[in-house]
Subunit: 130 residues, 2 copies
Amino acid sequence: MFSYPLHHVAVAVSSLEETSSLLELLTGESPSAVEEIPDQGVRVLFVGSVELLEPLNSETTVGRFLMKRGPGLHHIAYRVPDLKEALARAKSEGFQLIDEEPRKGSRGHLVAFLHPRSTGGFLVELVQAG
Amino acid sequence: MFSYPLHHVAVAVSSLEETSSLLELLTGESPSAVEEIPDQGVRVLFVGSVELLEPLNSETTVGRFLMKRGPGLHHIAYRVPDLKEALARAKSEGFQLIDEEPRKGSRGHLVAFLHPRSTGGFLVELVQAG
């Protein structure tokens, strides 16, 4: 048996500073430091369990998401104990992997994404804490 | 000082049964029983911290969301100790309330929604555990 808890929810925004101020005001949680992840084309920060994603430019995945749909909920992330094992299991169950191998996420985590087509319509990230 | 933790993330789906099976397979979490909330025009269930929303018909808020955008992430919910107080605070800080008064949500909770326009682009629910 296994059980993956929710790790965070990510939101695409056009300004980390603006949205993090709003969330701090709303929830009382202080924003984390900003981290840039060139590999994923984003600047990110966390306010509690909510990750804000600001695209580095309009040609990135999050940049295109923003252009097409405006700011909004982008993906949910589950915490897994072993990402390689979790990817192998997900693949064997028929989930479509966007990342066949773990890659580096924010805060030293290892991450990988599953395609919305296979999850019921929403982007899912698996996270192994760094 | 106050601090509202994330309570759940909600996803609009066309079939509770299909998506909950997928999430159970992916995360190892068992789905809760289905609950119907006529007031919000949905059937809901939880798989871990993820709430699935299936519209009762296409004229409901979630029904229109599905028609327009297809299945996907719908809102995030923060847990608050006192919903009336939280709504008064949010309003005084400039957040736009969809519900001026708490109403009944799933599992006996009291809930109220804030307009995406005021939160940075995504629908936020405040939940007082029942």
